[in-house]
């Protein structure tokens, strides 16, 4: 994994986050979602949504936002591995006047997986050494696209639902890379009611 690259990106995002004036607490949201490669590789994702730039278009009242959504996902691929994904995601989100949302995101994620079985490493003498919590770290650049609905706009409920498809590339994987898909379906809730 290109750890230097990951650290540099993380620090840059943190600097942007600290430097920008904070939005109202009502604009910050918490995301809680099902996260999994498929329905059988189940998991959970939690993310904090922080609007960096937010504009409402006068013509059609559509709201356009650039969001910083740092999140942590964990999922279980049974008998294969348990994966943890730390994603400092940057996203663009458009909310229409009827509450429909569309978003695209980019993330330089960090992936840590734990092998789902007892791991034995061949030692220098040709014997075996047990490796506890065996697994590896990897760089996981991610592109995501999603849609949803903000229920606060028409139904006056401070809640939104969303669904997202994450396309992730694990680097390294064996001698090359591995594409992974992640399905994310969940809710967004403001930290403070509007």
């Amino acid at each position: 994994m290109n750890m230097k690259h990951y650290t540099r990106t993380g620090l840059l995002l943190l600097a942007v986050f600290v430097a920008l004036p904070g939005p109202e607490a009502s604009a910050q949201q918490l995301r809680v979602a099902y996260f999994g490669e498929t329905v059988t590789h189940y998991g959970l994702k939690v993310a904090y949504e922080y609007p960096l730039i937010s504009r409402i278009k006068a013509r059609n009242s559509a709201r356009k936002e650039f969001l910083l959504t740092p999140g942590l996902a964990v999922y279980n691929h049974p008998d294969n591995h348990v994966g943890l994904i730390l994603s400092p995601e940057l996203a663009y989100q458009r909310t229409g006047r009827r509450g429909g949302t569309f978003e695209v995101g980019l993330s330089n994620s960090y992936f840590r997986y734990f092998l789902a079985g007892k791991t034995f490493e061949v030692d220098e003498n040709g014997g075996f050494r047990r490796v506890k919590m065996a697994g590896r770290g990897a760089y996981l650049p991610t592109v995501s696209v999603g849609f949803g609905r903000d229920l606060s706009i028409r139904k006056n409920r401070s809640l939104a639902w969303y669904a997202k498809l994450n396309l992730m590339q694990q680097r390294p994987y064996n001698a090359s890379t591995l594409m992974r898909f992640g399905i994310e379906c969940g809710i967004r809730k403001p930290l403070k009611n509007k």
Partner: protein, 341 residues
């Protein structure tokens, strides 16, 4: 602008659940009792983390280690067809390096027969340590047969296992190409395909041109003549099981082939264990899909003739091509059980 108290509280609760989920998932991966096993082991060696899924009947004290083909194919994906064995014996499904669900950070320079043989040695050794009173039998398919001969004809490795079932696989790349060319020529004439017939006639395989012979072109023509029309992806039950109910890393199969270019260009051409087969003394069975064009049955006959210190049994599957366990599953399972009993 930082986290509000509410957020902190919510996050703490959620992190607790996340931690719990990780812990439960890691703990819940093993089930073993006196009669059955459902364990996942990993062998870490020279950059590769190779899974070995052990399933089935432990009370039998017999364990079948499946050596998959490819190279770069998968073992656990074929459980769909081999599961019938698990009522009577235990089965170990091992994904080789840069194959199936194996992961890690692996140098392509390790994709050599010597390394595959060494990996097999450690897999067998690990299984013997984990299941000390169990007899191990190898069921090897296609490239897995090449790997099996490499393993068995190195040092005293054959003493570690109780027998080998070799399924549609070769002992020598040269002999394989000679016999595949013969098969293609025969089929081209039978099917009146003059274009392929002329192509093959103009390109004999010799020991001298082995290093440069364009074998992928010959292979392509063999497939054109229906040398192996069976595709696991036509079996919807298999595909659903593969995607949703098996521990396979589904998309990894698209990632592996690019690692094998050097193997296909060079390494494969140097493979020849024919001089060593006379040293094999353990029981051997040769299982062959009779209609196979990938590794024609004539290779099976040559293998039988080279095994002079054992008396191999020869089992033909008349309706099968390269994977008799797919096209004649029940009979395949029955024949394996007959051999290991």
């Amino acid at each position: 602008m930082w986290y509000s108290q509410t957020l902190e509280k919510q996050m703490k609760t959620l992190y607790k659940y996340l931690f719990l989920l990780v812990a439960v998932s890691l703990i819940a991966c093993e089930k073993d009792d006196a009669t059955t096993t459902d364990r996942t082991l990993y062998l870490r060696h020279k950059g590769a983390d190779m899974p070995i899924w052990v399933r089935g009947n432990l009370a039998s004290n017999k364990l079948v280690l499946f050596l998959h083909g490819g190279p770069g194919d998968c073992a656990m994906c074929y459980r769909h067809y081999l599961k019938g064995l698990e009522n009577d014996v235990a089965v170990a499904y091992w994904d080789q390096r840069i194959a199936g669900s194996s992961s890690g950070k692996v140098d392509v320079k390790t994709l050599t027969y010597e390394q595959f043989g060494e990996d097999a040695y450690y897999v067998v050794k690990l299984l013997k340590e984990q299941y000390p009173n169990t007899q191990i039998y190898l069921v090897a398919h296609s490239f897995g047969v090449e790997l099996a001969w490499q393993f068995l004809t190195t040092n005293d490795n054959q003493k570690l296992v109780s027998g080998l079932i070799a399924v549609n696989g070769t002992f020598s790349t040269y002999r394989w190409l000679v016999q595949m060319r013969e098969w293609v020529l025969r089929e081209a004439r039978r099917q009146n395909n003059t274009a392929i017939e002329q192509y093959v006639q103009a390109r004999p395989v010799t020991a001298e041109n082995l290093g440069t012979y364009e074998w992928p072109e010959l292979y392509k023509r063999m497939l054109d003549l229906d040398g192996n029309p069976v595709s696991i992806y036509d079996d919807k039950k298999f595909v659903i099981n593969y995607l949703f109910a098996s521990p396979n890393t589904a998309l990894a199969q698209f990632s592996h082939p690019k690692a094998y270019s050097e193997y296909g260009e060079t390494t494969i051409r140097g493979y020849d264990r024919s001089a060593f087969l006379k040293n094999i003394q353990i029981p051997v069975a040769l299982f062959w899909g009779k209609k196979d064009g990938v590794v024609p049955i004539e290779i099976g006959y040559e293998t039988r003739d080279l095994l002079t210190k054992t008396a191999p049994t020869f089992v033909t599957f008349d309706q099968s091509y390269h994977e008799p366990f797919i096209s004649e599953t029940d009979r395949f399972v029955a024949e394996v059980l007959k051999f290991v009993r």
